[in-house]
Subunit: 134 residues, 6 copies
Amino acid sequence: MIYVTKKMEFSASHRVYNPNLSDEMNAQIFKKCANKNGHGHNFTLEVTVVGDVNPSTGYVIDLKELKNIIQKEVIDILDHANLNFDVEGLKNIIPTSENLAIFIWDILKNKIPNASLYKIKISESKTSSIEYFG
Amino acid sequence: MIYVTKKMEFSASHRVYNPNLSDEMNAQIFKKCANKNGHGHNFTLEVTVVGDVNPSTGYVIDLKELKNIIQKEVIDILDHANLNFDVEGLKNIIPTSENLAIFIWDILKNKIPNASLYKIKISESKTSSIEYFG
Amino acid sequence: MIYVTKKMEFSASHRVYNPNLSDEMNAQIFKKCANKNGHGHNFTLEVTVVGDVNPSTGYVIDLKELKNIIQKEVIDILDHANLNFDVEGLKNIIPTSENLAIFIWDILKNKIPNASLYKIKISESKTSSIEYFG
Amino acid sequence: MIYVTKKMEFSASHRVYNPNLSDEMNAQIFKKCANKNGHGHNFTLEVTVVGDVNPSTGYVIDLKELKNIIQKEVIDILDHANLNFDVEGLKNIIPTSENLAIFIWDILKNKIPNASLYKIKISESKTSSIEYFG
Amino acid sequence: MIYVTKKMEFSASHRVYNPNLSDEMNAQIFKKCANKNGHGHNFTLEVTVVGDVNPSTGYVIDLKELKNIIQKEVIDILDHANLNFDVEGLKNIIPTSENLAIFIWDILKNKIPNASLYKIKISESKTSSIEYFG
Amino acid sequence: MIYVTKKMEFSASHRVYNPNLSDEMNAQIFKKCANKNGHGHNFTLEVTVVGDVNPSTGYVIDLKELKNIIQKEVIDILDHANLNFDVEGLKNIIPTSENLAIFIWDILKNKIPNASLYKIKISESKTSSIEYFG
């Protein structure tokens, strides 16, 4: 079994707050991440899949094909979007990286031909990351 | 003369559009950067100053002092902000990295003790950057 | 379960040698790492914790809180220190990255609220790293 | 148990194609990677070994020794080589990163003193990687 | 005046040798870079242009447009190519990074609308680079 | 004219203080950088030289030759050293990066065959750098 990882990026904005809580509670919990007009990041997304090497190609999956799947299913939806307003499946979810990882896992889990989705990793900055294994 | 550079980051959102143009013109010129609800980046800011080495310290300027000046004068204003709505001096300016560089130059140009501001460099992503020398 | 990682840095000096061995043996085993006056590194520390997402925040742990814990418990003790002389808990230990990882694990293992410590990773350079899972 | 990783690089060229297939099939499967005269990469190789800390050195394995083993057994063979023609053990293998990882595993698996080989990771670019655990 | 830089990559192979010299002389001058079957790199290309900010867009040049020009004029020609055999304009030139920089300058110097080409920077590895200002 | 840059690293320790000042003054000016037992960094050194391309090699200078010169003249002296005690030419100098850059310039300025030394750049961390042009 070989693990294959593709790294891509998307630029998005979000406001991290819980609409069921008061503004004061949101400010206390989320601090400047709850600023009313939102802020943004270059999010780094790493998708890892696992499978056997196909002896006629030497690939588990062609990385160009994996890139195309992630581009179409995930990046086209999230890039240059406001994660609070613009993404159908995120509308009732606090758009933290944790919840984004679960959201992306659910999109991709049945979309990888001849291999299994193994891990979703999201970084909001050079010094932090979130990993989800389903 | 020695050139001293400090690199810092801020996370902000922006919508790149010209309010004097129609929505159609904005979409044609700025494409997805003009999306209505904005998007965001981790902006990297590099500030370069130039001066002589002080023989009693071996420094042009203490990098901790330079960091504190940039933090107070620039990062505290731009970090976790929406550049279209939240920053007083940017309100009538299209918030591109080019205009941000000029804005930051004007803030810092007289704030560096014992050295001269030399360059402002801003990167919106790992593959692009803007440099301004005043 | 979601894995959350925070990366931080500290700058320290150390001399890698075993005081129970002769100078000749130390030079033979540790080579220039045993140089008498020490040398130094920017150490990169990555702390990974694991837990469930809190539905009211969307976080396993607020990364700012995790950063504050690591800063107070680890970075404030190790940064700008000489690892042979300045750190109480390291005084009888050869200050290799391996032993540093175990030392930091023991400090943090009971300090993470609502999540479990999963991994300590230390890099002395861009081309090497040590990982410890407790 | 501590995991120790050394990262090294080699520059090589390859043509990704299956000699048992027609030129048309190769072009369809491998696209520009099958270009007749080959192309190249700076390959990044990360070797992870696992073992116990030796109390008299504080090391699992001296990283300089691990580097020397990888240099002699792998880098000297692959660096500045054409992977289709110049490497004895790769001659009947499609030189993808997947197959390279298996090839390097087999070289190193019995060559690490006092520790076990745990993982081979190869990156052809900043945005892709292959991992193999034997 | 604002300087705008776009960074892109291409993967290519080359053999660095002078066909007017003997094999022995080539081996002595270029060492393993002259290996008969060639080797390869991920080349990093940074193109810097300089111009005034257009007040109606806030841009010197739209970075997406700059990217498209570099892609069409340079990357499509050099990516996944063998620089000794596959590129028309390089056929009588030793394909060092120095000569590549001059080659790319000549391609792009009159292709940048509303701005001037300022610098071509090429890196064959993380530790080396070539810069050419025309 | 082409500019050629080689990046190398060295690991060293230093204590930043002025022996002509009191301990209190040193603590006030240099803060934790003046800690008695010193601290350390992985210093990144970038050496840029400038010259014409030699038509028979396609090089300004062979990067392997430039690397060997820097290794012998600079890295062998500074790597794994304590900059306050172990380096002959630094003994009466506060070992800041500014003074290191001047020290390295003076070593290398007449040592580059067929090219001129153009710049010395030193980084103590990922977020700061010093540049000196002689």
